[in-house]
């Protein structure tokens, strides 16, 4: 069999796992990553739901996998231009590097919604307001309490920030933030048991195995209070603490509370360079601005352009389990495509 080259754009969990699978099948892979290191968002997380294993563990495993003679990893590299000539793609990369690929897999993942766009929550304005991603960083430290200037007696988590929100034109659910809030609220309690923890949600989306169990644990074991209602605004009071306004939609009454920390569960939005990529490869973009696959059920890893494949969070918000499955499915579809 003549060796074929596959270009994979984006070295997050999806791109890494697909590279490894294709390499094992005997193909040559060029893994292109725009950032300085591989691993994608896995680099930013401390522990993972649902079993709360360290993210580093998984990252190590993926890194070992891509350390393969058939895989060339190119970091700090972007795709500038693409030319197509009979079933081959010519990719012009940074520094005028050119690679020829028989197939292309797109795994550009997602970006965190810019929480400053919901100005009413005060991100970037009040220093007591942080995001889920910021909190993962804070968890890396041994002593959480020491990270805050003032004692944190109460913390509130806000779900659906930048998701399910017509005002920011993101109608979809980001899927992982509910369970992330449950996980993070437990982790908070474990480190600072005296702190009161509230979660403000619209619906609890506990879709994966052991997610519901984690939610039950949060309530029963840790006494975390879940309030159904959307926070309308956060503001600073005269004494400098943070006040939030919300409506408790189960009790149907307005609610006002002071809190020392507000954690915004920022959702997922498509990666910034996706528009450029969609133009280069003539790929369809869905109403939700993520890439659109050829067929939702049967050909989820295929795009409308022959030889160009899709996997992971560049298709829709998803967790790592689904990302890895999609990466392997894509590898198989690419293999079929190249050997036929």
């Amino acid at each position: 069999m003549q060796t074929k080259t596959i270009a994979i754009i984006g070295a997050g969990p999806a791109g890494m796992e697909a590279s490894a699978s294709l390499a094992k099948l005997g193909h040559q892979v060029v893994l292109i990553e725009k950032k300085a290191s591989t691993g994608g968002h896995l680099n930013n997380w401390h522990h993972l739901f649902p079993d709360r294993r360290p993210a580093k563990e998984l990252l190590q495993k993926l890194k070992q996998e891509v350390n393969h003679s058939n895989i060339e990893v190119m970091v700090n590299t972007a795709v500038h231009e693409v030319k197509q000539n009979d079933y081959r793609y010519e990719l012009v990369l940074s520094e005028k590097n050119v690679i020829n690929a028989n197939a292309v897999l797109i795994t550009t993942g997602f970006e965190l919604f810019d929480a400053a766009k919901k100005e009413e929550y005060g991100y970037g304005i009040y220093n007591q307001v942080i995001t889920n991603s910021d909190l993962e960083q804070l968890f890396q430290a041994d002593n959480l309490a020491a990270q805050f200037k003032k004692p944190v007696k109460r913390v509130a988590f806000v779900h659906c920030v930048g998701s399910r929100d017509a005002k920011v034109n993101n109608h979809y659910c980001s899927k992982v933030c509910c369970v992330t809030a449950v996980k993070q609220s437990i982790e908070f309690k474990e480190r600072m048991p005296e702190t009161e923890v509230f979660c403000f949600y619209m619906d609890m989306r506990m879709f994966g195995p052991y997610y519901e169990e984690l939610y039950r644990e949060a309530q029963e074991k840790w006494g975390i209070v879940f309030i159904r209602g959307k926070i309308s605004e956060a503001s600073q009071t005269r004494d400098g603490s943070l006040q939030i306004k919300a409506e408790d939609t189960l009790a149907s009454k307005p609610l006002r509370m002071n809190t020392d920390l507000l954690v915004l569960m920022a959702g997922m939005v498509p990666a910034e360079g996706n528009e450029h990529i969609s133009r280069q490869f003539k790929l369809a973009i869905g109403d939700n601005r993520f890439f659109k696959s050829k067929d939702n059920h049967f050909d989820n890893q295929l795009s409308d352009t022959p030889g160009v494949f899709l996997a992971g969070a560049c298709l829709a918000p998803m967790n790592i389990t689904d990302t890895i499955s999609q990466a392997r499915a894509a590898a198989l579809r690419i293999h079929e495509y190249l050997t036929n």
């Binding site: 100005e119 009040y126 503001s235």
Partner: protein
């Protein structure tokens, strides 16, 4: 005695019309409240009436405003109205000179029939030419109106209005009047070898082609009939605007204002619309797909035909763009708002739970509910107040009632007035001399409904004053900024210059094609609850697109709602004036208490 039965359709039609108008306007007058009647009584014999008369000539006949917006359309309206008016006046003079005294009502109209051979009286030749010239003038306008029916672009409009069946019938009668007059006069002139340059020549041609005599009498009948039908039909069509616009002009000059529970002025405004359609092209809802056509002309039409207008009343941004171009000067936003009350239930005593609190201060700062959703604005304002050394009270910092205008915009006037009196008490007790608000929506109600004995300023005006009096100073940045006029502040409250001045202190202001009176709506209007978020964003997109014509580095506005709406879709950063000024402000050491906060402080 000059009489023939063919004058009857005209004469009866005219009498019926006058009778109808007398009853209609009489009823309106009778329905006016005591206050309005008093105003009329006191102002009837003042200069106001003369001004009104002048306006009637300028607008009702010459259509000066339409001319300004669209010269071709202006000419069309002027030639029809003013031309017809002159025909009547000159015709009456001519008839008067001829009979040397008074003549029946119809005599001047059918003068050529009764006096076909007019070589015998003073200036008769001149009259013949003049009357022909006027007829030609009217016919040219008629020709344009005809073309407009089939292609709105001929008069420079993108869209025109649709007609009802009666409208069509009466419109046909109207269109026939002048061609029939031309025909009747030409036939008569041809037979008698008289007439001016138009009717005379055309008559000669007719006479050359066929014997005109048998057609003369039927032509005059047809002319009289078309006039009669037009007069009788007029009250049931849009042509009611011709007499009603005059009533409106008088009322306006006598100081009568639209009121929720006064049906008269509402009706007068509704009947004054000639359906010119100018409001259609200017409305941004035009560009959207799948929305009901709810531009002012359609809304007025529905109300007038007593059809259900709820959906139309609600689907409007109340941006005031149409009002600023309406040649009749109908108060389109207020009118629409008042009709919204017809559908909103008015709840009473909703705000019993709000407790009154007050503080003594020189200046009250009322941020407004919307500003609480854009905290950078209120924080910037607090920095500015502190730097200016102002003794201020942040009235709605933690708790505070809404200003009431959102309720008003939803048509809940009663509930709104409860909030107004609640807030008003607190404001009065504070002893402040100035009230500053960050939100143009609040600003408008403070100015218009609160009747406050203190200065009410929008923060852009206030900041401008501080900058001019050097109470605060800024470092001018070279960044290029385009200013977006918020609807409620610009068209709504005529504040255009202060924000630009303030911005110019701190940055380099560039203009764009649609600013000031013509500025576009951001789409975020609180008034329109029926528009989908998606459509609101479509409007915002277009607005950002036009605003960034000249590639500014920053979009500045003076309204929290505009900031949020435009910011959600704009690639160019959108800030409020207060933010920009606070950022460029030279902080004097005495006041330096605050420093910038950032997330980094946690790490």
């Amino acid at each position: 005695m000059y009489y023939d039965p063919f004058v009857l359709p005209f004469t009866l039609g005219l009498l019926l019309l006058l009778g109808y108008l007398l009853v209609k306007y009489g009823t309106w007058f009778w329905q006016l409240d005591a206050q309005d009647k008093k105003k009329i009584r006191y102002r009837l014999l003042t200069r106001r009436t003369l001004i009104a008369l002048r306006e009637i000539v300028a607008e009702g006949l010459i259509h000066r405003k339409i001319f300004k917006v669209n010269p071709r359309l202006g000419y069309m309206h002027m030639s029809l109205a003013f031309g017809w008016f002159l025909l009547i006046v000159v015709g009456a003079i001519e008839a008067h000179i001829f009979v040397k005294g008074s003549a029946p009502l119809y005599f001047p109209i059918f003068f050529r029939y009764f006096v076909p051979d007019q070589h015998h009286f003073f200036f008769s030749w001149g009259f013949a030419q003049l009357m022909d010239l006027l007829l030609l003038f009217v016919l040219s306008g008629l020709f344009m109106a005809f073309a407009k029916r089939f292609n709105a672009k001929t008069v420079g409009l993108k869209k025109t209005t649709k007609l009802k069946v009666v409208d069509k019938f009466v419109l046909t009668a109207l269109w026939l009047i002048f061609p029939l007059r031309l025909l009747a006069e030409s036939l008569t002139s041809g037979y008698h070898n008289s007439g001016g340059f138009l009717t005379g020549s055309l008559g000669a041609v007719f006479q050359y082609l066929f014997p005109t005599e048998p057609f003369i009498y039927p032509a005059w009948w047809a002319y009289s009939l078309s006039l009669g039908v037009f007069f009788v039909g007029l009250p049931f069509t849009r042509y009611m605007h011709i007499p009603t616009e005059m009533v409106l002009i008088f009322f306006r000059n006598w100081g009568l204002k639209l009121k929720v529970n006064n049906p008269v002025l509402k009706a007068v405004e509704i009947y004054s619309c000639p359906k010119c359609g100018i409001c259609i092209d200017t409305c941004q809802l035009n560009e959207l797909q799948n929305t009901t056509k709810s531009q002012s002309v359609y809304f007025i039409q529905r109300v007038r035909n007593a059809e259900n207008y709820r959906e139309l009343a609600e689907n409007c941004l109340l941006c005031g763009r149409c009002e600023s171009v309406c040649p009749v000067g109908i108060d389109l936003t207020a009118l629409r708002l008042m009709h919204k009350t017809d559908f909103s239930e008015n709840k009473k005593d909703q705000f019993a739970f709000v407790s009154e609190r007050t503080n003594t201060a020189d200046v009250i700062y009322f941020a407004g509910c919307m500003t609480h959703l854009t905290p950078t604005i209120k924080n910037s304002m607090e920095q500015i107040f502190k730097q200016a050394g102002e003794n201020y009270w942040f009235m709605d910092k933690e708790q505070g009632a809404c200003c009431g205008r959102p309720l008003k915009l939803a048509g809940q006037f009663q509930a709104a007035s409860e909030l107004v009196s609640l807030n008003r008490n607190m404001i009065l007790q504070s002893g402040a001399h100035t009230l500053v608000t960050s939100c143009p929506i609040c600003y408008k109600i403070f100015k218009e409904d609160y009747r406050l004995p203190l200065r009410v300023l929008h923060h852009s005006e206030y900041i401008n004053e501080l900058l001019v009096s050097k109470k605060i100073q800024v470092k001018k940045s070279t960044i290029s900024v385009v200013y977006h006029d918020p609807c409620e502040l610009g068209r709504g409250a005529a504040v255009y210059q202060a924000p630009r001045n303030a911005l110019q202190f701190a940055s380099n202001v560039i203009e764009n094609g649609s600013s000031g009176q013509n500025s576009l709506c951001c789409g975020g209007s609180l008034a329109n609850q029926s528009l989908s978020e998606n459509n609101k964003q479509n409007i915002a997109h277009t607005t950002v697109h036009k605003l960034t014509d000249n590639n500014p580095e920053l979009i500045a506005t003076a309204c929290p709602m505009c900031k949020k709406t435009l910011g959600a879709v704009s690639a160019v950063k959108v800030v409020d004036i207060a933010e920009l000024v606070a950022k460029q402000m030279i902080v004097k050491p005495v006041h330096q208490k605050q420093k910038a906060v950032s997330v980094a402080e946690f790490a």
